[in-house]
Symmetry: C2
Subunit: 223 residues, 2 copies
DNA sequence: CTATGATTATGACCACGGTCATAGTACAGC
DNA sequence: GCTGTACTATGACCGTGGTCATAATCATAG
């Protein structure tokens, strides 16, 4: 999560997302956003004429895309592409942050939703889109691993739900145990959703095989 | 969720919990709390010399106890006590609220955690206790249904996590689909954790068998 | 060198809200 | 009656923070 200084505007959106994670919408001030981004305060009204709501919305959208990108990166880095491994990688990011920083900031999308789902309609919509944007690559990844299409979306929702909830508990407890627990308990369910070609339960090798096969080859043998 | 008017003090705590659900900590004003509770504003400093932090903390604690009580109530009302049925009842409460009100307010504990886990240490601790208070009856219920002790706590954590996350998504989307999805997808896992007294395979015996085997049963075939 | 637009700077305004101060009322118990 | 304690009432203070107004700077074309 390196601060890419592509310009003051992006830095401010990024900073807003960061600050959202730990105070919610009302907990972050515009001046603070500019300060952390090392951007001039006057640039706020210049780049974001829509005011705070616009900044928050862009931060939420950015977070959604970032999360989606992370999923793709995790997927590419997996040596053994199983659903549970992807989920573990997603959760790992959070346990790592907790272990290094000592504290755990929340998810910016969650913060925005919790704070202003009722007041700012645009923020609510934006959060929903960010969540959808996050779920999309997860669904595709599961699909590629052999989870049937109808099920992949549902499992992606389950993964995001469980992760968000576990983040919440981990924050409150300042302990990663909820995250590790969720990963462990959900693993068999996730991996169990991988469709074997037929009722030949070999082992977990079937998953890998199926995953690589599903991504490209057309041969749908049905033996 | 009837407003029990046991006195102005409790009404204020209750109102604070309600208002927390939709604006977070910073989104609710003390004057507003008193107003909604039909309590005099001057009573705030009288009953809560600790200020807003105290009000929030008590509201969070109240919410935790309320949630725990709900679990017990759900459990008592279940005709067929299965883990998935309990979870469905827990989620049902939220889908009902969404369908009647049109909007869905969040969980007060989640709001408090998201908003002030970093700033107010006491609130963070309080939220952790509230979550523990909520999980306790769930763990016991699972245990009573036949889930082994070691596993019951973990599954309770999973249930709370998934529920909290699904609430978040449902709020953002203004749709109960995440809640129903989570309930549906988690059901086999939850029910599969019930340990039959013997290996009497009724239906999802395979799942049960697999789950219990994965956790270190003695039969290590070495052929 | 202007001129024009984009950016940066800064001060002021104003509402909101938490808290404090200072009362005022109600109702014991004597 | 009094006295004290619990509660209610209200106004004021003051920091915070979002927004606006108004310039100043700075680039880059003409």
């Amino acid at each position: 999560m390196v601060m890419a200084d592509r310009g003051p505007r992006e830095r401010m959106v990024f900073s807003a997302a960061q600050l959202l994670r730990r105070g919610g919408v009302a907990g972050v001030g515009m001046r603070e956003v500019a300060a952390q981004a090392r951007a001039p305060r006057g640039s706020l009204q210049h780049y974001f004429p829509g005011g705070k709501e616009q900044v928050v919305n862009e931060a939420v959208a950015w977070a959604g895309q970032y999360a989606a990108g992370q999923v793709s990166r995790f997927l590419a880095a997996l040596s053994d592409p199983a659903p549970s491994a992807l989920f573990a990688a997603m959760a790992r990011q959070w346990t790592d942050e907790l272990s290094t920083n000592g504290v755990l900031a929340g998810c910016p999308v969650a913060a925005a939703t919790a704070d202003s789902a009722q007041t700012a309609e645009s923020t609510r919509t934006n959060a929903a889109e960010a969540l959808a944007c996050w779920r999309r690559p997860i669904t595709e990844a599961l699909n590629g691993m052999g989870v049937p299409s109808e099920r992949a979306g549902a499992l992606a929702t389950l993964m995001v739900s469980a992760l968000e909830g576990a983040i919440l508990i981990a924050r409150a407890e300042r302990s990663p145990s909820a995250l590790t627990t969720v990963v462990r308990e959900l693993a068999p369910l996730l991996d169990g959703a991988v469709e074997r070609t037929r009722g030949v339960p070999k082992r977990r090798a079937a998953v890998v095989d199926r995953a690589s096969r599903a991504r490209g080859s057309t041969s749908r043998h049905r033996d």
